[in-house]
């Protein structure tokens, strides 16, 4: 009930914000910030006060929606979704803060879209009816596309179109798989069902499940993204406004990983095990290819975008080893990457606001005029290449340890990606903050300081005391 209320509140707040901006200029950002903070608190209180620890999936509500297809509005929560939703809240607030001065046109409508995207993302993480899941999967897509297409940079329409077509076509494959599984349930048990918990009980022969699994896998691999279907990501990231990039890298990519865990691996364990070598190969190629492409980029945001592909490769590799340690690593990597890439994109936005360029050639020597910004940039770059003491290190370490137990060759190859990440991290930092000064820029303002330091604090906290997250995500594994 509370969760449905939260999503509805986000939708309503979006409308209110939109109207309010027309009446009082400048009210939209404050209202969005307050709404998000309030709802995040409501969510925290709800989770805390619930008398279970959410190690198992807790079904919260189940209401009939479309009777013809036996589709219900059913939502549930477990630790995995709690972790990811918490990340969403944090990054949502960061998003509002980074858009504070960046968005100047159609401000009200912008925040409407932002709030709607967040409502959709939360919906994705809690839906346990597959139809509902698909519904939210698309609901988060539409406003996100609007954010890229309306407030993005010079090539925004192309990027938004590419993003949308990639996701939509792949999700149609998933829709076919969803329908097919639903009807398979009908032939097996005599009742059509799209309910996740019903599907878990389904006995699928491998000959059927391998195709069904593939339908889901492609949709999530596009979102993650993994190598042959990654090409939308650099464009979308580069062209999106800062908040769009933060949200894309921070949370939207995670929905792909979430889908892989919840729907691919848990629903089709046999088929996934059979598919694991291919998935692991794709993952390793993603890791190395992403890192290689990253240090060849001249565009700050494009560089970070390619590094995302590399990091998400670690997640996929870890997930398809089916070991406890690797799972832990994958989940920590998800959170850590969400924080660190969000931080780097936020930095890119701050630099863009000052010098109106994303090109690394136009940057250099920022350290002299903006030492605080430089310090943060160094820390975030360090996080991206897995510096011990920061969260990413824990994630990558656990992933690799887990992978090594099962597929040692893959682990060794994947470790090469770490070298690549050190190179692109240093390239990024050196070409923007060191060398001869090309611009005098203003150092971080109070608002920007809050953004950077809160993200760094989270990264440090998880990096130094990983039990915070390891203990929490343990229940996901069986």
């Amino acid at each position: 009930m509370t969760l449905s209320f939260i999503m509805l509140a986000l939708l309503v707040a979006g409308g209110v914000v939109w109207r309010a901006e027309k009446q009082w200029q400048g009210s939209a950002k404050w209202l969005s910030l307050i709404t998000l903070a309030l709802l995040a608190t409501v969510f925290t209180v709800f989770v805390m006060s619930h008398n279970t620890d959410f190690t198992q999936l807790q079904v919260l509500s189940r209401v009939t929606w479309i009777d013809t297809f036996n589709i219900q509005y059913s939502i549930a929560l477990d630790q995995l979704s709690i972790v990811l939703i918490s990340l969403t809240w944090l990054l949502a607030i960061i998003c509002v803060l980074v858009s504070w001065q960046e968005i100047k046109t159609n401000v009200g409508f912008y925040y409407f879209n932002l709030l709607l995207t967040i409502a959709g993302i939360i919906g994705v993480f809690i839906a346990v009816d597959m139809f509902l899941f698909f519904f939210f999967w698309e609901v988060m897509l539409l406003p996100m596309t609007a954010i890229i297409a309306i407030w993005g940079h010079e090539n925004r329409h192309f990027a938004a179109l590419k993003f949308f077509i990639f996701t939509q076509v792949s999700s149609l494959l998933m829709l076919v798989a969803i329908i097919a599984t639903g009807y398979f349930h009908l032939t097996q048990t005599g009742q059509l069902s799209f309910y996740y918990l019903d599907w878990l009980k389904l006995e699928l022969p491998l000959s059927v499940s391998q195709y069904l699994m593939l339908g889901f896998f492609i949709a999530f691999a596009v979102k993650l993204p993994s190598v042959p279907v990654h090409s939308w990501l650099p464009d979308a990231h580069t062209q999106a406004p800062t908040a769009g990039s933060v949200l894309l890298a921070g949370v939207l990519l995670k929905t792909g990983a979430y889908g892989l865990i919840r729907f691919v691996i848990f629903l089709f364990p046999q088929a996934s095990a059979q598919f694991a070598p291919i998935a692991a190969t794709l993952a390793v190629v993603s890791i190395i290819y992403g890192a290689k492409m990253a240090f060849a980029q001249k565009d700050f945001k494009r560089l970070v975008a390619y590094s995302s592909i590399s990091h998400m490769g670690f997640v996929m590799l870890a997930l398809f080893t089916f070991t406890n340690v690797a799972y832990q690593g994958a989940i920590v990597t998800l959170v850590a990457h969400g924080l660190s890439s969000a931080a780097l994109f936020a930095l890119a936005g701050m630099i863009y606001q000052r010098i109106h360029s994303r090109n690394l050639n136009d940057m250099g020597g920022f350290w002299q005029s903006a030492p605080r910004m430089g310090g943060f940039a160094l820390a975030f770059a360090g996080a991206a290449f897995g510096l011990p003491g920061l969260a990413n290190f824990i994630g990558e370490f656990f992933s690799l340890v887990g992978v090594f137990q099962v597929m040692p060759t893959f682990a060794i190859l994947a470790a090469l990606g770490l070298i690549g990440s050190a190179i692109y991290g240093m390239v990024l930092f050196q070409s923007s903050f060191q060398g001869t000064a090309k611009h005098e820029i203003i150092d971080l303002q109070a608002r920007e300081l809050i953004i950077c330091s809160s993200l760094l604090l989270m990264l440090l906290a998880i990096g130094l005391y990983p039990t915070l997250l390891l203990k929490f995500s343990y229940g996901v594994l069986t």
């Binding site: 609901v139 949308f164 939509q168 009807y183």
Partner: protein, 493 residues
């Protein structure tokens, strides 16, 4: 109710039967009265109002029929829940097109009574089509629909396209109906019965000479219908005629004529089990796949909005054909449900799109015949309600959740998945992917910030009828998109 007293022979037309075709009777009677009205007083307002009243009455009568059981009305017609639902869709489309037509016609000095007569005739033709249970009534309805449409398509005499599109439609429509007539004759020569419910023994299909003859007849019949549905390869007239006719007529063409033809095709096929014939299936398969791909690809580069939606309608008929191909005897009820739901979604979306086009056309200051992509630039900031309606319609056509179009697509995919028709699914996915490449830029155009200086005027919706139309269509597409169960229930009763 009147009961035949002491007479055991079944009456030719009982009151119950008359009640079942009451909506059609109301329309027919309305046409006669409208003719008298023209003789009495020629006024644009009066005739428009009168037509509106007739359609509303027919709609009310029709809605009351939704709960009554199926009934055979003479040999020619059969009224059941499906045909009633389809006729409701047709009447609603006519009702939406009416104020648009009135607005368009009142811009001229002449009094155009005949336009409304043609509109009513067309609705009657569609009403006969959806209820027909016999090739004779099918042909009757088909001709009524076609001939009145020819008049409507070429109605705007002073427009540069009117003669071209009118003639194109007339000639092609006439040849299509002659194809169809020949096909019906072939079918009749083999089966000896023109009724849809006639039982034809399965062995006929496989006889060496008669079977070929029969299948040739079927092919001719299907191509006649396919022409009307603008299914590839019978689609060539569509973009030109869509572009050349007045926008309210395009609206009718895109909705009423498609609904009626598809419903009658399914009715005929379902009753006679042509679906099980492999050859027919193969033809339909080719039609469907070429329509889906060709329609979407051709729409990509269109600048003219009406042409764009013409091609998109070709693709949509291709999607809908999938249902017809994969259906089987066991799930006929589900097939009907899918088809009617998809048609409802398609109708609402097309009505919305063409309303916006017509309203924009009226706003144009210059004497410009067509609405192109550049005319809708930045519409969202100038006229939010129009743009919202357009966006919802486009999303619905693209099959994105929150809209009826998505549920329609869900129906089609379910049908195809049950039947394991993977090739059709693949074509549908590819087609939808290509479709997005023109639907989405349309939406981006609506949002684009820059617009030419003369378009910077804010458009405000003044007319109360237009306001009601726009907002109610927005409401309908949202409500039924989120709660499709309401329509499912309506179809099922």
């Amino acid at each position: 109710m009147m009961m035949p007293v002491a007479d055991n022979t079944p009456a030719f037309l009982t009151m119950a039967m008359a009640g079942a075709i009451l909506p059609q009777l109301i329309i027919a009677f309305g046409i006669a009265l409208a003719l008298l009205l023209v003789a009495w007083r020629r006024s644009q307002r009066t005739i428009a109002l009168f037509t509106g009243v007739v359609i509303v009455m027919a709609l009310l009568a029709n809605i009351s029929l939704l709960v009554t059981p199926a009934i055979q009305v003479t040999q020619l017609l059969k009224v059941d829940g499906y045909s009633t639902f389809a006729f409701s869709l047709i009447l609603i489309s006519a009702l939406v097109a009416l104020p648009m037509s009135h607005k368009f016609l009142s811009a001229q000095i002449e009094v155009h009574d005949e336009y409304y007569l043609l509109l009513l005739l067309m609705v009657l033709g569609a009403g006969v089509l959806v209820t027909s249970d016999h090739y004779a009534s099918l042909f009757l309805g088909f001709e009524l629909l076609s001939i009145s449409l020819v008049g409507l398509v070429g109605y705007q005499r002073e427009s540069q396209y009117s003669v071209e599109s009118g003639f194109k439609y007339l000639i092609l429509s006439a040849s299509a109906s002659s194809f169809m007539l020949l096909g019906i004759a072939f079918i009749y020569s083999v089966s000896g019965d023109m009724s849809f419910s006639a039982v034809i023994s399965k062995t006929i299909y496989n006889q060496p000479d008669l079977g070929v003859f029969f299948q040739l007849g079927l092919l001719l019949f299907v191509s006649g219908v396919a022409f009307k549905l603008s299914v590839a390869p019978f689609h060539f007239w569509t973009p030109d005629v869509y572009q050349g006719s007045p926008t309210p007529v395009t609206m009718l063409l895109a909705t009423i004529s498609k609904i009626a033809m598809f419903v009658v095709l399914l009715k005929c096929f379902a009753a006679q089990q042509y679906l099980l014939l492999e050859n027919v299936q193969q033809f339909l398969l080719i039609f469907a796949i070429t329509s889906m791909l060709l329609g979407n690809v051709m729409a990509l580069k269109q600048q003219n909005l009406k042409r764009l939606f013409a091609y998109s309608s070709i693709a949509h008929m291709g999607y809908l054909l999938i249902v017809l191909i994969v259906t089987s005897e066991q799930n006929l009820a589900f097939t009907w449900q899918s088809v009617l739901f998809y048609l409802a979604a398609y109708t609402v979306a097309n009505l919305s799109v063409f309303i916006v086009i017509e309203l924009l056309q009226q706003q144009l200051t210059t004497q410009q015949a067509d609405i192109t992509l550049s005319d809708i630039k930045g519409l969202f900031w100038r006229a939010p309600s129009y743009a919202l309606l357009m966006i919802l319609a486009i999303l619905s056509l693209a099959g994105i959740p929150l809209t009826m179009g998505f549920i329609g697509k869900f129906y089609i995919l379910s049908q195809a998945t049950i039947a394991h028709a993977w090739w059709l699914i693949a074509a549908l996915i590819v087609g939808s992917g290509i479709g997005l490449a023109y639907y989405l830029p349309l939406i981006f155009k609506l949002f684009s910030a820059e617009s030419s200086p003369d378009q910077n005027v804010k458009i405000s919706v003044k007319n109360i009828v237009e306001k009601v139309l726009v907002y109610s269509l927005v409401g309908v597409s949202l409500v039924f998109g989120i709660f499709p169960e309401v329509i499912n229930q309506l179809i099922n009763t």
